[in-house]
């Protein structure tokens, strides 16, 4: 049975953002796991051709951010945009050739990340204004008091399989299970902002770097073992965090494809079902199809 929620009590808020440019410094190069210098695109701007359901890795990219990367120009308003926007929220383009197009939030990464169809994204550029209908922070699951929900739109939760089991646990379908060794940059940060990079997913590099995570896809729902993200992001044996892969390929060492946090609580409060269809593309928008 679907888990009961307080969705009816949540408020919706209209937020403004702007497609943000890619940023670099004049030294250009960063350093990979084996000391290799690299210059690769991925963060900021509008990244074309990679959508929910597509492989997260295998691109000549660093911190690949699928779709449009969005911020607000004013620092305080930007933090509100980053904290209040939830995965699954609708994003509408307000200005530029793609005005009127709608997409969905797939995660946060110090930018709000919004996936649109390639046709719509072809008309998007940094500087374009977007409107985010933010809803989800404060979402609670009836009868699952030990689990904290964050960054998750109630509409998306309703579309996801699983729910309250007869034994009282919350059933969640996941496409991959992530060991604690994989947790990279993002540990120690708040869980309403940016995401948790996963190491061990460096496709094409050494075996000593692999934790078997090269098969992750953008939009995959994943379970992070021994991770407590209720009040920030930390290692805690016996806890579990559910996230959604919102960024892809990385070359920077200690970084990798990253889940944005959706839920966290004691592991015994969850019942995981391994399900390769547990991906945002199953519920939000199919690759290449107008959402």
């Amino acid at each position: 049975m679907k888990a009961g929620t307080n969705a009816a009590a949540l408020i919706r808020q209209v937020l403004a953002g702007e497609v943000w440019p890619a940023l670099a410094d004049r030294h250009a190069y960063r350093v990979g796991p084996d000391g290799q210098p690299f210059v690769l695109p991925g963060m900021g701007g509008v990244t074309l051709g990679v959508h929910c359901g597509d492989p997260a890795t295998g691109y000549a990219s660093d911190h690949l951010e699928p779709g449009a990367s969005i911020r607000h120009r004013e620092p305080g308003a930007n933090m509100a945009l980053q904290f209040l926007t939830c995965v699954g929220n609708e994003v509408r383009v307000q200005s530029g050739p793609a005005a009127g197009a709608t997409g969905h939030v797939i995660g946060q990464h110090a930018y709000v990340l919004a996936d649109f169809t390639d046709a719509d994204q072809a008309g998007l550029a940094p500087g374009d204004q977007v409107t985010v209908l933010a809803c989800g922070q404060g979402l609670e699951l009836t009868g699952h008091a030990a689990i904290r929900v964050k960054n998750l739109a109630p509409d998306l939760l309703a579309a996801m399989p699983g729910g309250t089991r007869p034994d009282g646990r919350l059933e969640v379908h996941v496409a991959a299970r992530i060991p604690a060794e994989a947790i990279g940059a993002g540990a120690g940060m708040v869980s309403e902002y940016a995401n948790t990079d996963l190491m061990g997913a460096y496709a094409g590099l050494g075996e000593d770097l692999s934790l078997g995570l090269e098969g992750l896809r953008v939009g995959d729902i994943v379970a992070l073992a021994d991770s407590d993200h209720r009040y920030g992001r930390g290692y805690r044996p016996g806890y579990l965090t559910i996230g959604v892969i919102s960024t892809g390929q990385c070359m920077l060492f200690g970084h990798g494809p990253g889940p944005s946090t959706l839920m966290s609580g004691p592991a015994e409060s969850f019942h995981l079902v391994d399900d390769s269809d547990a991906n945002l593309s199953s519920w939000l928008h199919e690759p290449g199809v107008t959402s």
Binding site: E181, G188, L209, H229, G232, F253
Partner: protein
């Protein structure tokens, strides 16, 4: 084709830098949130902390990332990062302004993100130091390799004159470091994915694991490669000095400034238990 300049035994360069004793900074709310969801007021997160010294327990005070002595920063963000990158453990420092002018101390560690250099002084000198006082740092150590050091093991963040005072031995192709404890990579928290030349690596130790851990102890983290950014690599070892105490924040804890990193075949970390002596005031010639 020349050899890899990073593995060559070139002469170390010393650079005179200036840091300023830090004043702690808080936002509009005094509260942070602990790993158990409890709001708390962070005390000792940067600035000048009295009464906490190398050799004290990491969980001995009700602080957040409290470090022994004075943290140095710089008002220019790029200069602050340079200060935290080039200063090395064991570097000599001298107070230049204020009531403590002339007092000599040493670098005991570094902290990441915006960058902090942790300096220790004799208690009577530290008591006269005030936020904003200028402190000269004789930065030396980055790029230095001890003569004859096994090539696979990288050395960083350590003054060339200090390594011999730490429990680090070289025998043939192997470096052996005596450590208080060795922990697996999944305990590595804030700092992972960041450059080891300027960031510390917080260890998410539970109270039992941290019970015998002292400020200045050497600790090994297995499965972490810290040659550039810090990240997961199987069969690798990183050894660092504990430079600050614990934190209630999730993902944080006592932090190490890395000094050695290499494959487990070339860098052995041996827990030496109660006999362990890491970085001490005596080694830093602080009286």
């Amino acid at each position: 084709m020349t050899a890899d300049p990073m593995s060559a035994e070139l002469a170390a360069v010393a650079v005179g830098l200036t840091g300023f004793a830090e004043h702690p900074v808080l936002g509009d709310s005094p509260y942070r949130v602990s790993r158990d969801g409890e709001p708390y007021v962070p005390a000792g997160d940067g600035g000048i902390v009295l009464g906490l010294r190398l050799g004290d327990p990491v969980l001995g005070v009700a602080g957040d990332h409290a470090a022994p002595g004075a943290c140095l920063v710089h008002p220019d963000p790029a200069a602050r990062l340079a200060l935290a990158t080039y200063a090395c453990i064991g570097n000599r420092v001298q107070v230049r302004t204020g009531p403590a002018a002339g007092a000599a101390g040493a670098v005991a560690g570094k902290r990441g993100e915006a960058g902090r250099v942790i300096t220790v002084f004799a208690p009577e000198d530290l008591a006269r130091l005030r936020p904003g006082d200028a402190v000269a740092v004789r930065a030396c150590g980055q790029g230095w390799r001890p003569p004859g050091f096994p090539a696979p093991v990288a050395v960083m963040n350590i003054d060339p004159g200090l390594l011999a005072a730490l429990p680090v031995q070289v025998s043939g192709d192997t470096v052996t470091a005596g450590v208080r404890l060795s922990v697996p990579s999944q305990l590595a928290g804030n700092g992972i994915g960041r450059p080891a030349a300027g960031w510390d690596l917080d260890l998410q130790l539970d109270p039992a694991a941290a019970a015998g851990l002292l400020l200045g102890d050497l600790v090994a983290v297995t499965g972490v490669d810290a040659r550039w950014n810090m990240g997961y690599r199987r069969d690798w070892v990183t050894v660092g000095v504990i430079v600050h105490g614990g934190s209630p924040m999730p993902g944080h804890g006592p932090g190490i400034t890395p000094i050695l990193t290499g494959p487990a075949t070339a860098l052995r970390a041996v827990p030496d238990g109660a006999q362990h002596a890491g970085l001490t005031e005596a080694a830093l010639k602080i009286s």
